[in-house]
Symmetry: C2
Subunit: 346 residues, 2 copies
């Protein structure tokens, strides 16, 4: 039984409270299955009808409830395609098919829906995926906030590809494909009507081609993970916990735009806990780290990629931890998000 | 441009207005693709990595927004599993994997969520499918009505199975797996607080095993279709239009429980337009109709199956129509749902 008897906003935060509702409600009911391994996509065996070979598909789902539905750098439709494409792609799969399920509020302007669908189509084209099936529900005014979009993605996992958040080993390098925090701060500043000298834009983007390039250049990749809700901090803590390792992140190596940094300092946000939608964390064997970095930097959306830290042994008590080390030699713990920092970010 | 500039409840009805928003907004943006053929599930080719064989998967998605969330005979969770299992199964696929995406309203009792997840698990067990991946979003109070659940299903299409709503031919028989209207009337009467001498229960049920039994017994099956929103009338009109044929339904052959019939007469509902969630329409070549009927009747949930009509040539103008013929020899048109009869039925 989860500690609270009602659903709280923090149950959807991507942090520890979400982990609890997943473990104590969803996994308790649905059971653990071999396909779900705590990664962003489930891997399912599909026996070919001839019977002597089988294919594996990667399956991932996400419902998008972001508010506002249009924001600098994107909209809910663009996000709905990119988010699921990225989740499927983290498995190393070639992302191929998307379904989409709309919940529309009575009274939503049709022109908004048309604009959002055009964004979805554009993002799907860029990612090279087909939207093959869909569903539309309409609810009465007041029963939904404008529209929610579920996308579920299917990818084909190439033979020999076995990525998992449970494969990180001491010595591995931690890469990030670009600056962090842009999406969360873009949404928050639009919502709160904050204005800066230049607009902070969401980074939402399909990263499946970047991932394919990295995988080709660096066979020693252990895993990719999309640092969305809960930010880099939650992603690294999840990976550390899945693999039973600790991690050290070098603060000065983490790419952050000066505007996002300024905004976080001003408003008291922990930049490591702010959501990203067009960034990829990659854990890679040390000998392949440079090749992975170069492949990222040569890819669209990867020009600011950096090696930001490394996987280390857990300390004596065996508890997986993520540390931030500063240039002054100090070290602090990078904690997973506990409460809810910015609701309805995706 | 759709005639209205705002989303109306009828855009989600399963009838002609929904057809318009699909054609004029969604298909216009996403384009037509070979995988989507106007059937309940898309059929996607998955090349096996060895390269010399390929498998086909069936993919279907549905978001459930039914109100109330608990009703006689089921709840939103049971419905969310059965609905998608049935949509995938209509393609003849072996349904294997489900994803689920939850949108939860802040304040939803955790005990409701636990009860709903237990129903989902039970329905998945009965259908023999695994819930392999999921997503949870929480929105602030007032931004969603309790909870919405998206399920997306993946099935494996056996070699040689090619079912399509476009394959109906004059002479084919029309079968229904049991009484119609139960789900819609159960929801409506719960919502409106109507009470009858005995409770009308939703018919929601997983029909994938029934479909497999029929397919084994009757290779001449042209297609299955799930007569949910818009009821039997919308389903048959869709099939007639996809195949360019007309259909005749014999009124006295259609199984309807006396309670549902009475309720429809009293309240002025057209029974043919009321939603079902545990019934299957099957179009089958005449020589296999009896075998299909027997297989249905021998299956769980199929004891009241009946042959209710046949496919005929379109009349001189070539326009596909569905007729109802009565025992007195009269004939009237069974029209597709136009407005919105019972919103949020699934």
């Amino acid at each position: 039984m989860v500690a609270n008897d009602r659903v709280l906003m923090s149950h959807g935060s991507g942090g520890t409270m979400m982990r609890r509702i997943i473990d104590e409600v969803f996994l308790k009911a649905f059971g653990d299955c071999p396909e779900a391994r705590g990664d962003d996509a489930a891997i399912c065996e599909i026996a070919a009808p001839s019977g002597n070979s089988s294919a594996r598909i990667a399956l991932s789902t996400d419902t998008f409830v972001v508010t506002p539905r249009f924001f600098p750098g994107g909209d809910i439709g663009h996000l709905a395609v990119c988010g699921t494409v990225n989740d499927v792609a983290t498995s190393g799969a070639q992302v191929r098919f998307l379904s989409c399920g709309f919940v529309l509020e009575e009274g939503l302007p049709i022109s908004d829906l048309e604009r959002i669908c055009a964004s979805m189509a554009e993002a799907a084209r860029e990612a090279g995926v087909s939207i093959v099936t869909g569903d539309t529900k309409v609810v009465d005014q007041g029963s939904c906030d404008g529209l929610f979009i579920n996308t579920t993605g299917v990818g084909i996992v190439p033979e020999g590809i076995e990525l998992s958040g449970a494969s990180c080993k001491p010595g591995d390098k931690i890469l990030i494909s670009g600056t962090i925090g842009d999406h969360g701060i873009a949404i928050m500043s639009t919502r709160e009507g904050l204005s800066f000298s230049t607009t902070i834009e969401s980074d939402a983007a399909p990263l499946n081609h970047l991932i394919a390039n990295v995988l080709e250049a660096a066979p020693g990749v252990r895993c990719f993970r999309d640092p969305t809700r809960g930010g880099l901090a939650s992603t690294l803590n999840e990976l550390a916990s899945q693999s039973g390792v600790s991690m050290v992140v070098h603060e000065s190596a983490v790419p952050v735009s000066s505007q996002v940094r300024g905004c976080c300092e001003m408003l008291g946000y922990d930049i490591y806990q702010v959501a990203n939608e067009g960034k990829m964390v990659c854990i890679v064997a040390p000998e392949d780290a440079q090749a992975a970095l170069e492949a990222m930097r040569a890819s669209k959306y990867g020009e600011n990629a950096a090696i930001i830290g490394e996987v280390v042994e857990t300390s004596d008590n065996g508890h997986p931890l993520v540390y931030v080390s500063t240039d002054f030699g100090s070290r602090r713990i990078m904690d997973m998000l506990v409460g809810e920092q910015l609701p309805r970010i995706c």
